[in-house]
Subunit: 226 residues, 2 copies
């Protein structure tokens, strides 16, 4: 059977046609994971459907944590998907061609000082930075502070891409800079990608070059990355 | 028309059935990208097929870099895919539930001191670390040095997952530790994921908990991540 948040299940009607379906509108993530494990323990084959990639900041971990706690020997398999970082990078061009760090700005489950430490480390070591959960109604100052920390190590002209509701009907894509980014609209469905020191913009795209060796590619002296 | 490395095109015969196909066995990445841009500039609609996600350490950036250089106004769109990090994380369980950094150990296009700086920064700030290009025939010592740098900030018991040839017929999955990892087989097709200080193993899986708040999920006090 198939279990999932109703909004996601509505996107895949053809896959649900002959299946037993349990859709939830309000049920919390923990309850949903628990219900899946209970159903699986009772002998059913259960697919828990998530948005994006269940393995990146998503439901897979919760299921494993609860399965370990319950200890009823259910067999679990994770099917990867297109995470926000994959989808947003594609919409922006090619910002993730070089080393990058993903940081969630939500401090609900992580102490804020640790988040600051990670932002500073990533900025200092010239990682492209992908910000998950940049802003919510209650958390409006985290993105302000994050930008400030990153600006300590990166130029205000650094390209920044903001993708909201990637691949959905209400998708928006904004290309801005570290200096200007706070004037752009950032919300709960946004993912923010901050370039490294070599990232450039071209047309409506944001591109991080694959190397630090200059015009390797076009001079015919290119060596493959692997 | 469809352009791509022959090995990848052989995986999708049903998508090529009625298409003009240009497969290359030995052609280098730069030549392939240039050929695509030339074909597109001549008026053709061209799909350049890559393995994984073209937007993560892959072909998309090269295409943009060359298009900018050529300046012939070709329209480019990137379609995201399942990158090695998505696929390998899924095979290992749920190691990427929290902040992570991706670092390529290839120094062909990146100065090695910068790679060392990133490894140290990521280790110090307790990022889960995903190592791309951990080893090749010529580069056998980089993974040794990377482990050494990470061990300065993380316990030898830290779980490490090694996935080779993810989703292919010759896929292998190994669960080990930072202390023991060099005894495992690591090759050109491997991706190595090193847990953060909270990552645990359970059964044959590697799981990073979603928060640093202890038993939030199971005590019913859970707050959603977003």
């Amino acid at each position: 059977m198939v279990v999932g948040y109703q909004t996601y299940l509505e996107l895949i009607p053809e896959l649900l046609a002959d299946k037993e379906v349990l859709s939830s509108q309000m049920m919390k993530e923990v309850e949903r994971a628990r219900q899946c494990l209970e159903l699986a323990a009772s002998g059913k084959s259960v697919a828990l459907v998530s948005g994006g990639d269940p393995g990146i900041y998503a439901m897979a971990g919760l299921v494993f944590e609860m399965a370990r706690e319950r200890g009823d020997g259910v067999r679990i398999e994770v099917i990867p998907g297109i995470a926000a970082l994959n989808a947003c990078a594609a919409r922006l061009g090619a910002p993730l061609m070089h080393d990058f760090a993903a940081v969630s700005l939500s401090d609900l489950l992580t102490p804020w000082p640790l988040i600051e430490k990670r932002l500073t480390a990533a900025a200092e070591a010239d990682f492209v930075i992908v910000l998950y959960n940049p802003k919510s109604k209650r958390r409006t100052e985290h993105i302000v502070r994050a930008r400030e920390l990153i600006l300590n190590h990166r130029a205000p002209e650094t390209p920044v891409g903001i993708v909201t509701a990637a691949t959905r009907d209400n998708e928006t894509v904004t290309l801005t800079t570290l200096g200007e980014m706070l004037t752009a609209e950032i919300g709960m469905q946004s993912c923010v990608i901050i370039g490294n020191s070599a990232t450039f913009t071209w047309q409506e795209f944001m591109v991080t070059p694959r190397g630090y060796s200059g015009k390797y590619a076009l001079a015919g002296e290119f060596k493959p990355l692997v």
